[in-house]
Assembly symmetry: C2
Homo-oligomer: 342 residues x 2
DNA sequence: TTTAGCAGTCAACGGCCACGAGTGCTAACA
DNA sequence: TGTTAGCACTCGTGGCCGTTGACTGCTAAA
């Protein structure tokens, strides 16, 4: 617990590096002897022990009890990610596989998201989570009114960018489909291409019915929050098998996090193009103290962006996770800008 | 293990009934002494033991080891559900609360589904799962083509019944929005109101582009399977806290079942209006041997139906679950027929 | 600065025993 | 014939203890 955060010697760095790697692989504390035998630092176990003691003093390692090996602390993981990991990239063949999969998927956002979560889960060995791209300042492209039953009408609202939302409205008195189409056309002529603010200030003489519809449209535009179900998940069950989740409280925290992804948004301050790593809840989420997340925002900044990432135990293959998240996020960004770019 | 399935005496029935109730409440094997003290059958523990032995011989009870109390077998639960439970109903005040909640929700299928899953989870104390109503034999109501970018067009397909699906298609050469709208109108005039079979046999002279679109429409109509994300879940974390899920393999089976609800469809043979109870996987799902499900189909038979239900440990409050599932299914059926009825 | 050697620590494991909850059986009883 | 009291028996649970072995920390020599 020395307060001085002084530079580590090269050997100390390799030791930390090796401990992180083998601990991630084995989930068991790493002993000095194992390190000596396993890897190419040609010193005795005693020397390694000395350095381990230093690393522990600095707060990068702990051991669960006196006669146990060492394991990384959150601070240790942080150092590893920022100083030792370097720029990791997915192996080229893996990249090609992924790119190929995206290529042969059907041209549909929902398919891409599902694919992205599957790829992330498999490739980063964690629980993957992908949210739909949210339009920043939604603009109407077109609306449509469809009669379904005597007093009921289906309103379909297509936003600039292709997001579609629907709502049912009830009529005071029945209307013909013709009349509905006419109203829709009139509204489209006036309001297509505008955002909510512009719609409010644009005067127009509307029938009562038309202004009711417009009211509903504004409501739908205001509901910025992503519909809960526009979230794709994958790999949760595999991650729950990891030994850290035999304790049901840890498992619960993870499942909760996956079920309520809105909190991800709170975490995620990153810009499109960068990957953010949150280790052990980083103080703010005590329940997630044994979980880490690797997150990125994807899409087109200022227009439509979504979130995607991987959750797992702090003992996570950060290299794989970071490179996979970055690669998939870039891929999704390209897709979004190809499709929805104006 | 006597093969004769003879009638139980009234007292044996009460004993089975009581054991199921207290076992559901406590999750611990029930002893003869506890039964004698707890409930109003005025006989000694020895008599109860005799009857317990008989019930065990018939296969309705087991005990985990010699000196432990009794607990119900799957067959015991089955007997309980079918012979002892009778017609259970949700308490009126609970019904009112639920009805009220549905009343003040917005008129949107997705909201209702979310609400239904929340209500089920809370009311039946289990993990709830609600799938969107699927159109039986989908018919086109209207299609729409919207240009998003040079070579990309968004196809929106509205089915009879209000389900909306969308897909992006790429053009060989750019087209104006006007030309797209015209094509859509032409296709609508010819094909609106038809199902896939009728579309295939209805001749029409179409441009290349129009028949491409039609091809895509047929594909979308053929994808009968519900989009994975049109499934609402709730209450999973609460159920995972139950003691039977401290074993990670049981927990995994449950999480799997919740993530891959398509297998529910296989199970579900019930008609709209009846509730189906599957206890302990009922032989077919070995992984779910310690789970039960209470399921129902809702909607309008032959037109649009969805699935909804509750998963939990076999040690489940069947009375609550069955009545809640039935009530919510009826509610949802009413909503579907109100909205989408033709 | 590194290393060999050694003492010290502590979790894990297995054996042992006492406890107590519950049953099954038998014999007496209504 | 059905019910009950009593008692022997079973078996899981939990505490206790000694052994083992995997590590570390320290010290003194290279």
């Amino acid at each position: 617990m020395s307060e001085e955060n002084q530079e580590l010697t090269p050997r100390q760095q390799s030791i930390l590096n090796l401990i992180v790697h083998t601990y991630v692989a084995t989930a068991a504390p790493v002993s000095s002897k194992a390190l000596m035998e396993g890897a190419g630092l040609n010193v005795s176990s005693a020397t390694i022990r000395n350095d381990m003691a230093v690393l522990e003093e600095y707060g990068y390692l702990t051991h669960p009890h006196t006669s146990a090996g060492r394991m990384p602390t959150d601070k240790g993981y942080r150092y590893f990610v920022e100083r030792l990991l370097g720029d990791v990239e997915l192996p080229t063949d893996e990249k090609n596989t992924i790119r190929h999969q995206f290529h042969q998927a059907k041209l549909e956002m929902s398919q891409w998201m599902q694919l992205a979560s599957a790829v992330l889960a498999r490739s980063a060995r964690g629980a993957a989570l992908v949210t739909a791209p949210q339009i920043g300042q939604p603009r109407i492209r077109q609306l449509q009114l469809i009669s379904t039953q005597a007093h009921l009408v289906l309103l379909i609202l297509v936003f600039q960018g292709g997001t579609v939302r629907q709502r049912i409205l009830t009529l005071k008195e029945p209307m013909e489909q013709n009349a509905l189409s006419q109203a829709a056309t009139r509204l489209n002529n006036v309001y297509a291409g505008l955002d909510a603010a512009a719609i409010r200030t644009r005067p127009a003489d509307l029938t009562d019915f038309e202004s009711d519809v417009l009211q509903l449209v504004l409501e739908l535009m205001a509901d910025g929050a992503p519909p809960m179900h526009e979230v794709y998940r994958d790999g949760l069950t595999e991650v729950l098998q990891q030994p850290e989740f035999i304790s049901q409280s840890e498992a619960r925290a993870l499942v909760n996090a996956m079920e309520e992804p809105s909190f991800l948004m709170d975490v995620l301050s990153a810009r499109v193009g960068t990957v953010q790593v949150v280790i052990g809840g980083e103080g703010r989420w005590r329940e997630l103290s044994s979980c880490s997340m690797v997150l990125a925002r994807y899409g087109v900044e200022g227009f439509a962006t979504g979130t995607l990432g991987v959750l797992g135990p702090t003992r996570m293959p950060y290299g794989r996770a970071i490179s996979a998240v970055r690669y998939v996020a870039d891929l999704m960004s390209d897709l979004v800008s190809d499709l929805y770019g104006d």
